[in-house]
């Protein structure tokens, strides 16, 4: 385990140092781009106003590469179906590069198919690849918690009740990390701030998301944000209740003309454009591609009417800091059960691998994981 940690850390440090690409890690097995079929698998509909749409819009960059054919399949569940879909793309469409865009595709499905088809390249949208995995597989990911941190800074200066609400789907690592970073942002400018979290238990369940948003407002929260597949409902509920909100995944600014502050968005197109450039020049794709603001993999939605001058100034400053590599996790930080995570003065690098394994909420977040 420790070996993996070290290798991952050095890998990530090299990316943080701004090395041009990690392509040395990759193995060039791809045919020339002039004759390449790329398969993309989505877990939901391609136009869901959220996660899948963000990928589909970004992946459109690949279609512009001359000689590249893109085949896409949507609503593929995280079961044997995704394995068979990928194999079908390989066997029936001749795909030589496959993008699997949902977390649960990786283990066992992407790994199995990668082992079975060593001549096909696989890239998966989550920070899960390690060097013990097949070399024709890999990961690409944007560290969205950096953008949630900036959201938190703006939210911390926008609240009167000091209670921020967070509607979350499931207590998985990425979600918990976003919640923690959101709180740390708010606490940075407003030490009184707390984040109240409600888990809906499903990635997409609009009625319960609306109920959760209403319950948070009723409990006194006056800024809402969320991490669910389609944030539309949460944002619209916040707006109709006359409070402020921060978005997630894609721009929801038009949905809340009065209360929208800013939002945390993946910028998958940066990654896909990078891949497209690699393909156009017949370069190998890196095995691990991960970054945040520093490489323009994530961004904040342009400020809406809900953002005050002070919030804008503080958020801009925070983003500049994170882009420059200043850590988000700075001690003293306790976990929810009061056990220390970081002592005073200690800090975690923003790409610290252990943060990918977040299985806790920190003190200041109200709500339990189980």
């Amino acid at each position: 385990m420790s070996k993996f940690e070290i290798s991952r850390r050095s890998l990530l440090q090299s990316s943080a140092l701004g090395l041009a690409t990690l392509s040395t890690m990759g193995m060039s097995r791809l045919a020339h781009a002039s004759n390449l079929t790329v398969g993309i698998v989505y877990v939901g509909p391609r136009d869901d106003f959220g996660w899948n749409q963000a990928h589909a819009v970004g992946a459109a960059a690949l279609k512009d590469v001359p000689g590249v054919t893109v085949v896409e399949e949507e609503n593929v569940p995280e079961t044997i179906a995704v394995q068979k879909s990928m194999e079908s793309m390989i066997n029936l469409d001749g795909a030589q590069l496959i993008f699997a865009t949902s977390f649960g595709y990786y283990k066992p499905f992407v790994l199995d198919v990668a082992a079975k088809y060593p001549d096909v390249e696989f890239r998966h949208a989550a920070p899960l690849w390690t060097d013990s995995d097949p070399k024709n597989a890999g990961s690409y990911f944007g560290y969205l918690d950096q953008a949630h941190y900036v959201d938190g800074v703006a939210a911390g200066l926008s609240t009167n009740s000091n209670k921020l609400g967070f509607v979350a789907a499931k207590p998985i690592g990425t979600v918990l990390r976003n919640i923690n970073s959101f709180l740390l942002g708010a606490r940075k400018v407003n030490p009184e701030a707390t984040v109240q979290v409600i888990f809906t238990g499903e990635w997409s369940m609009p009625v319960r998301e609306a109920e959760a948003a209403n319950a948070l407002v009723d409990a006194g929260c006056d800024v809402l944000t969320c991490h669910v597949d389609g944030p539309k409902v949460v944002i619209e509920t916040a707006e109709s209740r006359g409070i402020k909100c921060c978005g997630h995944n894609a721009s929801q600014a038009p949905l809340a003309p009065n209360g929208f502050i800013t939002g945390a968005e993946y910028k998958w197109e940066t990654i896909y454009k990078g891949f497209a450039a690699n393909l156009a020049e017949d370069q190998a794709l890196p095995n691990f591609t991960g970054a945040g603001f520093d490489k323009d993999f994530v961004r904040n939605t342009p400020y809406g009417a809900g953002a005050s001058e002070a919030a804008i100034a503080a958020a801009d400053a925070a983003r500049a800091d994170v882009t420059a590599g200043k850590p988000i996790f700075v001690g003293p930080i306790n976990k929810q059960d009061s056990t220390p995570l970081l002592a005073a003065g200690a800090s975690l690098d923003n790409y610290e691998p252990s943060l990918d394994q977040t299985d806790y909420l920190i003190e200041g977040v109200v709500g339990s994981i189980t």
């Binding site: 509909p45 106003f49 409600i198 809906t200 238990g201 609009p206 959760a212 009723d218 619209e236």
Partner: protein
């Protein structure tokens, strides 16, 4: 937060949730109740609900009138009902199975034609503010009531009265209880069932339009998490009584608000079970309230599912 304030918050949230969430359950279960009273079961109302949600949203987007959307959703629903009613009159055609395939068909069509309406924002239904007297924001919010909820309540009372006291009510009940008896009275059994299923589909379509046009108020493919199927089940729970259908829907809505409300006051351990509260509660009530000795009161004798 003090305990009292917490309890108040949860109760208020459940009250608000009962009003906000119950409407689709109410309309679908009233529709299904009417269909089942005539002696057929239509399990396809989930598909009707989803198609109603999509078509209502689309019409509201194109015409700017959400009420027109509601009406069109109802009409589309009654078309699905007509299909079900017509096919099931053919001998040896199983109404449950046709219902399940209509669920697929309706959902499929809604997703197919609904792709274009996920992005656009359509005008939503207005609500009536009954809470202006209160200065408590949560109370005011809870009393923002959509006219469809009131319409559903009125419909429940009307159906209850009409089934009991009118000639049409008698015809439907007779048809549902015994087709031979209805035939002997000169009733056209298939036509009664066709019309009842169409009316049921109409209500289910309206229930769907409430989801997309009011609460939560947008069209996505994940909009219905089985509300249509559950509402069909609630009819049995409500013993085919329209007034009970109303209470069942309200109870279901209130129980659904429990999970998020408890989490909002910091009680979140085991939230999976709180979120499942409507199902657990319904099952529990059914177990304690039924008896093996007598058949279900109000159950139509012709119904395949209770025979």
């Amino acid at each position: 937060m003090s305990d009292d304030a917490g309890v108040t918050t949860v109760l208020l949230a459940m009250f608000a949730g009962a009003i906000r969430v119950s409407t689709p359950f109410l309309f679908v279960s009233l529709g299904e109740m009417l269909t089942e009273k005539s002696g057929r079961i239509n399990l396809g109302l989930e598909g009707t609900l989803v198609f109603g949600a999509m078509s209502g949203y689309a019409i509201s987007y194109h015409t700017g009138s959400p009420w027109l959307g509601v009406i069109v959703a109802g009409i589309c629903g009654s078309l699905f009902g007509a299909l079900h009613g017509y096919l099931c009159k053919l001998p040896k055609v199983n109404d449950i199975a046709i219902g399940i395939s209509l669920m697929l068909f309706g959902t499929g069509l809604a997703f197919f034609f609904g792709k274009a309406y996920i992005q656009p924002s359509a005008p939503r239904l207005p609500s009536i503010s009954f809470g202006v007297w209160s200065d408590h924001p949560a109370v005011r919010q809870a009393l923002e009531i959509n006219p469809l909820f009131l319409l559903g309540l009125a419909l429940a009372v009307f159906l209850w009265w009409a089934l009991k006291n009118t000639r049409y009510g008698l015809i439907i009940r007779t048809t549902g209880d015994s087709a031979p008896a209805a035939l002997a009275l000169g009733i056209n059994v298939n036509q009664v069932r066709l019309l009842s299923t169409m009316a049921g589909g109409f209500f289910a379509g309206i229930g769907g339009s409430f989801l997309s046009l009011y609460y939560p108020g947008s069209w996505t493919e994940g909009l219905s998490s089985g509300q249509g199927l559950m509402a069909v089940a609630l009819v049995i729970f409500a013993r085919w009584n329209p007034i009970y259908c109303f209470w069942a829907a309200v109870l279901f809505g209130a129980a659904g608000a429990l999970g998020p409300a408890l989490q909002s006051i910091g009680i979140s351990r085991g939230y999976h079970f709180f979120n499942a509260a409507p199902y657990i509660l319904t099952l529990f009530i059914m177990i304690v309230s039924t008896s093996p000795r007598r058949s279900l009161k109000g159950a139509p004798g012709e119904l395949s599912i209770t025979k």
